[in-house]
């Protein structure tokens, strides 16, 4: 025994229904989106109603006021989904066992066998769902729901996933099964044929409400309005002889007589044949005039009378075949709403189309403008060198000399109109690899004698000269957390020290400094300092960055690396002259320089007073 009454707001309407059913089958019929599946989900507990109650066999499953809401897993309601929702990774047997795996093994076996027998699917036990036909899947889904011995069975469109040829057969079997089970069952469908066969009681739903309920015979003979009539295939026509219609008449399509002439009968209509459907011995005609209705006439009549599409015909029904149905206010409602709905839809679509068009237009205009701008811009730059005769020089410069070289390049360019120097600033080893692989360059500035010697050996340059001297310093964060004040503290205070990796010049110089210090502080000093290292960086900038961020407590970098910007964040501790190692930058003009004279001139400038002054400005020592 199930009784329920609940409400839930959906997007366009409110589902508001109440029913009470015994051990019988109730079929909820309606168009898709009328709220019937929502109703099933609320019964199963998968959705929560906004108001109302659900009672099943004296136990309360849902009661808004008492805040009762039993979760789906405790409701003991069997639910079969439209597409059956079998677990694809489990066999039929495992699918069926799924809901009862808390029972004892023997009990499980008994129940599974029983239900597999009931549905005659024992032979499929070890098959995976993907290998089953639609009808077989439905039986497995039913078996899986029934094995838990549910108190209520909910079937959502149980036949719509089947093809037409198997549907009739499966429908009849389902009817038999439901009869055997005799538990309250609710079936949802949009097909009147399903309802007619399966239902003890039918409830027609529209817009979340039940319009009419009764036995299949009752609602077919006395449809409450044209909506119900359409489902059952009955004709329902309002009597228009009164000012406001009080009643309607209902008649079966097979009771309609068709002729080409009026016979003066009381219930006679005229119209045009819009559609003809051959159904075995009958032809179903759709006749459209003041009223639209269906007539089913024997095939012989159609052939003898030579009826065809578009014919103007008279149709009449004998008095004894007419049933009077009280006029329901929902008659016109459902008619008018349909028309309104159609109109509204049309407008919305038009609007969205307009918006889309504007968008498309805007988008293409913008992309066109962008392409034009791009092409013009490219042309502008591409034309530039041709109008003013320009010499392009290329310099490969070790990263530490970025600032002085930038200044010097600007000075040089000012003195030589039409000369533009492109400088690449990178680690010396990268520049060396580029040179060795045939990069075109006029000038090469190396931070490491090793690399420039290697380049010379390969014959890329002839001669190189020292151009600037640099010193190493200790840098610590402004607050100096490790309390470092001298080189010696690096070996005595616990400190997170960051230095360069041994393969880059700064790393080698740093290790040389520690070695030099060994003479004063003992042989273990450099070992001790190196054991405090937490990270080996590949560039001085990375070392400086880590100290500036406060992560490292000390680092060793070139003096020139500590720009005014960094001076705000770090403190410099100088390394005594006797331990310090000079880092020398070397410079050379390449053998196959594109602009050899200019390159020689630039190199000379760097080596002589003016150039040296610039280097000194950035903290380098002069080579003299």
């Amino acid at each position: 025994m199930l009784s329920f009454q609940f409400k839930k707001r959906l997007r366009d309407f409110t589902v508001d229904i109440s029913q009470s059913i015994g051990a019988e089958t109730l079929v909820l019929i309606g168009h898709s989106g009328c709220g019937k599946s929502t109703a099933l989900k609320m019964l199963a507990g998968l959705l929560t109603p906004e108001d109302g109650m659900i009672k099943l066999n004296e136990s309360c499953l849902f009661e808004k006021k008492q805040m009762i809401n039993v979760p789906p897993e405790e409701r003991n309601i069997g639910y079969v989904f439209q597409n059956y929702a079998l677990f694809p990774h489990l066999t039929v047997q495992e699918n069926v066992e799924y809901g009862i795996n808390k029972l004892s093994k023997e009990e499980q076996e008994v129940r599974v066998e029983e239900v597999l027998n009931l549905l005659e699917i024992q032979s499929l036990a070890n098959t995976k769902p993907a290998m089953l036909s639609g009808g077989e899947q439905q039986r497995v889904a039913l078996a899986r729901a029934l094995v838990t011995r549910p108190k209520l069975l909910l079937l959502d469109e149980p036949l719509s996933a089947l093809d037409v040829s198997t549907r009739t057969h499966v429908r009849a079997e389902l009817k038999l099964l439901l009869g055997k089970l005799s538990i309250p069952t609710i079936v949802v469908t949009h097909d009147y044929e399903d309802a007619r066969v399966l239902a003890d009681r039918v409830a027609v739903m529209d817009q979340g409400k039940i319009i009419q309920s009764g036995t299949p015979k009752e609602i077919s003979q006395f449809p409450a309005n044209d909506f119900v009539a359409k489902f059952t295939g009955t004709n329902l026509i309002p009597l228009l002889d009164q000012e406001t219609p009080q009643s309607c008449i209902s008649f079966n399509p097979w009771d309609v007589e068709i002729g080409f002439e009026s016979n003066g009968s009381e219930y006679e209509w005229q119209g045009i044949i819009r559609d003809m459907a051959w159904l075995g011995g009958l032809v179903r005609l759709q006749i459209e005039g003041d009223e639209t209705f269906f007539a089913e006439v024997p095939v012989e009549r159609v052939e003898d009378g030579k009826l065809k599409m578009g014919d103007h015909v008279y149709a009449y029904v004998r008095l004894e075949d007419i049933r009077m149905v009280p006029f329901s206010p929902s008659f016109n409602r459902s008619r008018n709403e349909k028309r309104k709905g159609e109109k509204r839809k049309g407008k919305v679509e038009e609007n969205s189309k307009k918006v889309r068009k504007t968008w498309k237009f805007g988008f293409s205009v913008i992309s066109f403008l962008m392409i034009v701008a791009f092409v013009l811009g490219y042309k502008a730059t591409a034309n530039f060198p041709e109008t003013t005769k320009q010499v392009n020089m290329i310099a490969l410069v070790a990263a530490n000399a970025t600032d002085p070289l930038n200044d010097l390049i600007k000075i040089f360019e000012k003195e030589h109109q039409g000369v533009s120097i492109n400088a690449t600033y990178a680690g010396t080893h990268i520049l060396r690899t580029q040179l060795e692989n045939g990069a075109k360059a006029d000038l090469f500035l190396s931070a490491d004698i090793k690399h420039i010697e290697a380049v010379k050996e390969k014959g890329i340059i002839e001669q190189f000269y020292p151009v600037s001297l640099n010193k190493e310093v200790i840098v610590v964060p402004k607050n100096n957390p490790a309390n470092i004040h001298s080189l010696k503290d690096l070996g005595t205070n616990p400190v997170k020290l960051v230095i360069g990796v041994e393969s880059v010049p700064i790393g080698r110089y740093t290790r040389q400094i520690f070695k030099n210090t060994n003479k004063t502080y003992g042989d273990q000093f450099s070992k001790k300092v190196l054991s405090q290292v937490v990270s080996l960086e590949t560039s001085t900038k990375a070392v400086l960055q880590k100290v500036a961020l406060g992560e490292a407590e000390a680092g060793i970098v070139y003096k020139t690396d500590v720009t005014p910007e960094f001076k705000k964040k770090v403190k410099i501790i100088s390394i005594p002259e006797k331990y310090n190692v000079y880092a020398t930058n070397y410079i050379a003009v390449t053998k196959n320089a594109p602009n050899p004279e200019l390159a020689e001139e630039l190199m000379k400038k760097l080596l002589l007073d003016k150039g040296q002054a610039v280097f000194q400005k950035y903290g380098y020592d002069s080579i003299k």
Partner: protein
Amino acid sequence: MFFLKTLARITFIVIIVGTLTYLFLPLLSVFVTKSPAMLLNKLNNDITYQALFLSLHTTSIALIFIIAFGTPLAYWLAKSSFQGKNGLEVALKMPIVAPTAVVGVGLLLVFGQRGLLGQTLSLFNIEIPFTSIAVVMAQIFMATPFFVTTARQSFEAVDDQLLEVSRTLGVSTWRTFWRITIPLALPGLLSAVALSWALALGEFGATMMFAGNLPGKTQTLPLAIFTALQSNADVAVSISALLLVVSFLLLLFVSFIDKYMRLTISSR
């Protein structure tokens, strides 16, 4: 007409071959240009072993954390809808597009000694930067978004109706998760794991910035490659080859498992 069709066909093939060549040649060149004996010889040193061991060690730990914390997040994103979900999903992908060095700085700003949480942590004498923990954290940070995105997609692919039907059969949400969601999402989850593992293995920028570069402690394979590039390109190429082989085997293994599992789901 026939001529045009042939031309279109040839263009199509050329595009495909060209793209594949472009994508594979730089990686293959690592193996082709140097002799295998030399590669093996260069690999045979402590630094490489340390880096390999550290990489495997840290990525395994990172992976455990990614799975443990990424899976619930992915599930939540897949199965719930709320205002601003789209925004959150886009924000979650930010670490993928952010330059890795920026991520490193970001991690320092949070967990560094002067960072938001770092100061609190240092009260308990926990210091993260320059430790293996920092390596793991950088890897987690970079790889989690990939894991979450991929895992979310595989959770989304599990039909909600299966979960609903499971509940009507008397199985709680938690048990449904283990009996239905996980088995069905597993192939997708595995490729999520593989992808994030490979990413963690290749993580470079954030590790360099946040964890530093000390052999045996924080120097993972990518950092070893970068450091080796400063001096000896051959060693760098050898380690690159090693990293590529390890990643390739990993991805291959997972794709086999994935194929096998999809087969078991769909047929008998």
